[in-house]
Symmetry: D2
């Protein structure tokens, strides 16, 4: 399993009139977190795209237990639990930093396409990189 803890902070832009983070914002945090997780294992998304591979989201889910608030720091634990085949699944757990309380869980599933949107098999360099992390 690959795990990465991404930390970000909540600002006014994220908060709705209930005083908590608006629900769609977590999907932006998920994107930030997975971009950094991949970077942490030398898979730069910009470089993957230069190689002609795009990783669109084909499915996204979030379950909300408690809302983060303005100026909260949150940890987004980002995980790849098994090696991708046609698709890559990434899991997320969002914790409030002060008390480590679990606020949100979720996952995204990513396909692989080329520049014209045609499905592709995941690139070998990506599978190799993930595989070497799994077998450390």
């Amino acid at each position: 399993m690959i795990t990465y803890d991404y930390i970000t902070k909540i600002y006014y832009k994220d908060i709705d009139q209930m005083g908590v983070v608006y629900y769609s914002r977590y999907f932006e945090f998920f994107e930030q977190a997975r971009t950094e997780m991949l970077k942490g294992i030398d898979l730069i998304v910009t470089d993957i795209e230069k190689e002609g591979y795009y990783l669109p989201v084909v499915s996204a889910t979030a379950d909300y237990k408690e809302g983060a608030r303005f100026e909260d720091k949150i940890i987004i634990r980002t995980m790849i639990k098994k090696l991708p085949q046609a698709r890559m699944k990434i899991d997320y757990e969002v914790y409030r930093k002060t008390d480590n309380r679990l606020l949100v869980t979720g996952h995204t599933v990513h396909g692989f396409i080329d520049k014209d949107g045609k499905p592709k098999r995941p690139p070998k360099f990506l599978l190799d990189r993930l595989s070497s992390e799994f077998h450390q």
Copy 2:
């Protein structure tokens, strides 16, 4: 079943560098659509909140088949398929208006809380309103 077709349009703000709507934006469209669906049956969210009831999202999912593009009109078919008990589930189907192609499906599940975040049973006026729609 309650069904409502909400139409909106895609602008630059919604589009990412793949040239399609960024995945989290659909959850904003879902919110717009369900607000109008409820309004269509005389349930104004602002009024519900004035009565002391808030409807936070406790779960949200989207499955992406194809991306909407800049200046596309989309139809968000919004559905309540069964009467809520403790929670209310709303389903969504997003179609491109020009060719009626299904782009995205999804759902949200809503709890009922008071101003301080304490869970409440769904208000009677809301259940009555939904119920009368189901039995038309």
Copy 3:
């Protein structure tokens, strides 16, 4: 002068914890409004881009008098006050629909570039179209 009234509505996604629209959201509304204003005079932004012209914002300003609230309808009066030369200026006035109260004013200034970001003169078809509106 070219004038266009664009109407939109405020949803939860737009509102911050002060209970009013978050300040950056008005720039999204401005974009929606100017896209529709241009469409109203047969200048489709998608088509302009297909001709190889992009209209990036080079300057943007908003002055906030009063905040719009959840479920408010707002009118965005969108104006081109003089024919563009190297750059095109668009003015905006945002009114609350119920009482016509002026909430926000602002403007954007747009340059013209090609796909590679190189400055271009505004395209003739655009100047001709605007000009014919000014001389009606």
Copy 4:
């Protein structure tokens, strides 16, 4: 003068189909930057609000020279150039981190209001805190 350098990074959520940051996003970055600048001098916005003071934006401007791109790191130099009287002006300069190139400049002007939206004079603790920074 008070100066604070806030660093953030650009993700897919920020990028439009021109491949650069969508123009309204910089106002979110400005908010993040000023929140951290104030925190850097022990003025926590959450605490200011608990004291009954809100700092709505009354005016916002940005001038765009060049667009930041996906995975760029940017520095937002955030400045208070003179002590606020009725209103507080904050200036911003956005630099790309790799080459220190100036991408965007801007400013926001903030009023002071109470919870009901009534204008107030800036709180003494805030003026004192800013003043002591100016006279260091």
